[in-house]
Amino acid sequence: MESDKIMIKYEHRQAGHCESGATSNLFNFKGIALSEPMAFGIGNGLYFSYLPFLKLQFAPMISFRNLPNTVFRRSMKYLKVDATVIRKFKDPKEAMQQLDRNLQKGIPTGMQVGVFNLTFFPPEYRMHYNMHNIVCFGKEDGIYHISDTVMEYPQILTYDDLLRVRYAKGHFAPKGKMYWINNIDKELDIRSAVVAGIRKTVYEMIKVPFPLIGVKGLRWMAKDLKKWPKKLGNEKASFYLGQILRMSEDFGTGGAGFRYIYGAFLKESGEKFNHLELLEASDMMGKAANRWREFAYIGARNCKNRSQPQEDYGMLANMLVEIAGMEEKVYKKLDKIKL
């Protein structure tokens, strides 16, 4: 292994969501200021799906984020930026060589990794979760310098550790996926990108003809939540409820299942284009997000006292239905907006 030292001048900034944070930092590296909420909104980070037939850590799979790499790919597409995404490498060594070549050319490179073997990650978060994103920006004697937007400071990883997390197995396995920006024209058409991003998000949240995705999925989950204590017993019901809260509040969401970040995106674009309706939508989204947080706060009492629920599950389910209604109003409003 060559002992040369490469350090790309790359600014690490902490973010709420791993992928939009990485995207925003990569833009920043190219000299274009794009805030995290903007990257998140344009790249359709907002999502909801409830998949009870798939199990993640012994509880139904609930996802508040889109499929891995959506945020990067879509924001590149809508902003018309020249970027490269390599979906998978068959040979792990080839994947690492490609990374080395990139570093030599001075390109900071984003990668999808699994969390379980990530050595610098908080131990309490190390579960089998394969949708995390990191950016590598330097190398020194076989040790890689990593910017992980969930962490406060840049971190380091050895060659073997990096190889291991890049080839984590399981659902949504990363398979060595990597991405980077090639070049950017200085003038980006942000307005049309925002329009495209909002349209796609609205489609995904209320128009998908499948009952488990978006607002419909939220209502379906509320219906199931009511049945859990009778069907599964109090212990398991509280564990399942805990899964909803873990997914919405933990794992670097910025709180309330990304609703705050999306609200910030609507506010920022509303201010940029002087659009009153967008600002109203952002206010509604912020209120829905606060309601989400309240739901988490009340629900956590049931998780604390597991065998005897402190709060009624029916009440929690009604709260979820109310949130679904609040969110649906926002999306319907956004659907009619003309920019």
Binding site: Q14, E152, G254, K267, G286
Partner: protein, 131 residues
Amino acid sequence: METNSDPVYTDKRHGQYRELFYNYDKTGQFEKSVGFHGETDRVTLQQAWDLFHERIEEARGKVHAGKVSPIVYYMEKNLVDPLNLSMLAGISLWKVKRHFKPRVFKRLSEKTLKKYAEAFNISIEELKNVE
């Protein structure tokens, strides 16, 4: 309703790592703040880890009683279910389930044991013995 019901914790007791949180306050501003994770996060994470530890201890007891093979213990320790284990080790699901029997586990070839050992990131010796 617009109050911030989950304040950002600045006390280190709540975890060693600081994260970025967004908030929506009364004046209609989305605020960014950096802090340790709050009550809700801690309770739900604790709940998950309690369950995992319970399962690990149960598996350890069963291995020592000779009811199941050590693979079950290491599977629980790595927080996976049989389906994920079969993906991790590259062995088909029905075989993995069969290897849970101590009688079958004793006769496993070095090659298969090595596959499991690599999946769990331990040596073959460790795989055979549960502390």
